[in-house]
Amino acid sequence: MITAAWIALAAPLAAAVAITLAGTSISRRGAGYLATGAVGASFVAAAVAFVAMWGRDAEERAVLSTGWTWLSAGDFSVGVTLLIDPLSAMEMLIVSGVGALIVGYSLGYMDGEREERRFFAYMALFVFSMLLLVMTGNFLLLLVGWGLVGLSSYLLIGFWHERPTAVAAAKKAFVMNAVGDATMALALFLLIWKTGTLDFGTAFARVDDLSPTVQTLIALGLLGGAVAKSAQLPLHTWLPDAMEGPTPVSALIHAATMVTAGVYLVVRAHAVFEAAPEVQALTAWLGAATLLLAGLVALVQTNVKRVIAYSTMSQIGYMFLAAGIGAYASSMFHLMTHAFFKALLFLAAGIVIHALAGEEDMRRMGGLRRLLPRTWWAFLIGALALSGLPPFAGFFSKDSILAATWASGGDGLALYAIALAGVFLTALYTFRMVFIVWGGEPSAFVREHVHVPGRDLVGISMAIAVGTLAVLAVVGGWVQWAILYTPVETWLHPVVEDLVRPTVAEDVITSVLASLLSLAGIWLAWAMYSAKRVRVPEAPALRSLLERKFWFDEAYDAVFYRPAAALARVWTRWVEEPLIGGSIAGVALGTRELGRGVAAAQTGFLRTYVLAIAAGAALLFLVYLAAR
């Protein structure tokens, strides 16, 4: 089991290194096959580890394996440690499985791109980093993986480096994530200081003995990292811009895996969060606020990938909400189903974008249902799963989150109301997108540009990934139905124990309510965007509020960017130029003048040189005599 885990971790790294070192000696497709094969091998190894784990008793499933001691200072030491337990096994399967499908899809999607090898090297690096993040047994390596996925994300968002918007988006994502990394590093320092260890098991065991302030600070630091990585309020603004990257990147990194790392962190470090109830509540409220806000903004977006991006934020908001109230299994379950149907939506949208020669604006699409029928069905499945209608995957996972929110008591009812409103919004924006993109008659733009993928490598590789994900988006949710059976919860039980357990009545009522709301959302979308029976409300103020995404970018610009830029200008003018630049110029000038002076001693007269030697010898002799 542990060998399989190491293989799962090493395979993508080996592929990334191999593609990088091989350079042009392997073909572009060769690089793609290599990356796909490596991630696929990683999935097989993860599956082997999973099955091996399945065969064990529940209490013996967690295995620690230390490769070597990475660094040690005094009593403090950190090893390259893997912790393979039910939680990490589940994440490994999601990451490597969805990863293999999406890297395979990229074979087709990126075909003919000029820098395919770089793309696949980055993708393999990302899968390695993500696996490191979920498999490691201590916080330091978690932070390493955390930083590495941030780096891969940066590299892939900015993959089309000749586009200024892509470069800006990459920088934005990196900076925002750096804020989270910093708060997380602070939390780790506190942990080292107060508990003396970063190993999960010991650190969690010792957290209970700390003072409440320290507990809260540590939890806040970790939450900062999680919020930045998972694009939750208030560090969410990078995710929509990250859609500048290629669509498979959006599917893998910015929907299915990396952005859910924050949820994984909260679940993994649940002991820390449970020790700080205020931070737990904050997590839940941040999730609720994000899901509502992102759902609202998604209503007015016109770029198809941005709509899906906002829906990702919104769905991760659900996961944060669940993790905050202690419904960890529901949170992880939703993480899994979301990985399936959101990757499906992105990849299906990717086929549309590919077929329309890179066009991402929904307003120029329309009537694609008849032109891309199979993609239409896949997209519809994804949309239904996202809306949470039975029997699609989203129904099972989202409804258990909702029911748990109701059952959690306290603020629970307020959160519950927000979450239900989110369900309605989700259905509305999702089917707005569905009707605009697929419904109606083909637009002039579509008729002119559409290019249906054929039965070549491009079409087949994309079809395999989308088809598999479509099946998963349907059946993926059947793994657990909280009313009848709860295998996911049982599976995770050795690692995390849920704090809330809704009653059957709560579950059933929630399911009915959520499904009705979802249907209402779909009906409204149909009425407004397909049948045009209801006019889209004209509220200019609200509209501009939403189109400006609640003015977050502008606010950050005014609060952080402009003062910093002004300060930088002041320092450039009054410190950099006169002091630093001046001193450097002075040193250069002084050196030159000194050299000029010394050069005068170089008369070129041999006899002068000899005289200097003789005089020096005489002086040395004198010194010698005096010293004796």
Binding site: V598, Q602, T603, G604, F605, L606, R607, A614
Partner: protein
């Protein structure tokens, strides 16, 4: 030992060295500079042999012979350079060879 003490020999050696160094410092013809260098080397040789006699060991004489060999080598190279300079029409005057002026 018959005759003057070693100090006398060493004094002669010191004077030879001083005369040689004066020649090196003031003469402009590279040939005479080389000759003066030979005088300096011989001054050192005389001191070495005098001390060899003082301590009764042969090492100083070995050293003197090595100095002789080095002096011979130096003369070969130095004269070769002078001949090469003369063939190129360069002035045989160390004061006019000032290419290295800073």
């Amino acid at each position: 030992m018959l005759g003057p003490e070693i100090a006398w020999y060493l004094s002669v050696a010191a004077f030879l060295f001083g005369i040689g160094s004066l020649g090196v410092l003031v003469r402009r013809s590279p040939l005479i500079v080389l000759l003066s260098l030979e005088i300096m080397l011989n001054g050192a040789n005389l001191a070495l042999i005098g001390c060899s006699r003082l301590y009764g060991g042969g090492d100083g004489q070995i050293f003197a012979l090595a100095v002789m060999a080095v002096a011979a080598s130096e003369v070969v190279v130095g004269l070769g350079l002078i001949v090469a300079m003369a063939r190129r029409g360069l002035a045989l005057d160390v004061d006019r060879l000032t290419t290295l002026r800073g």
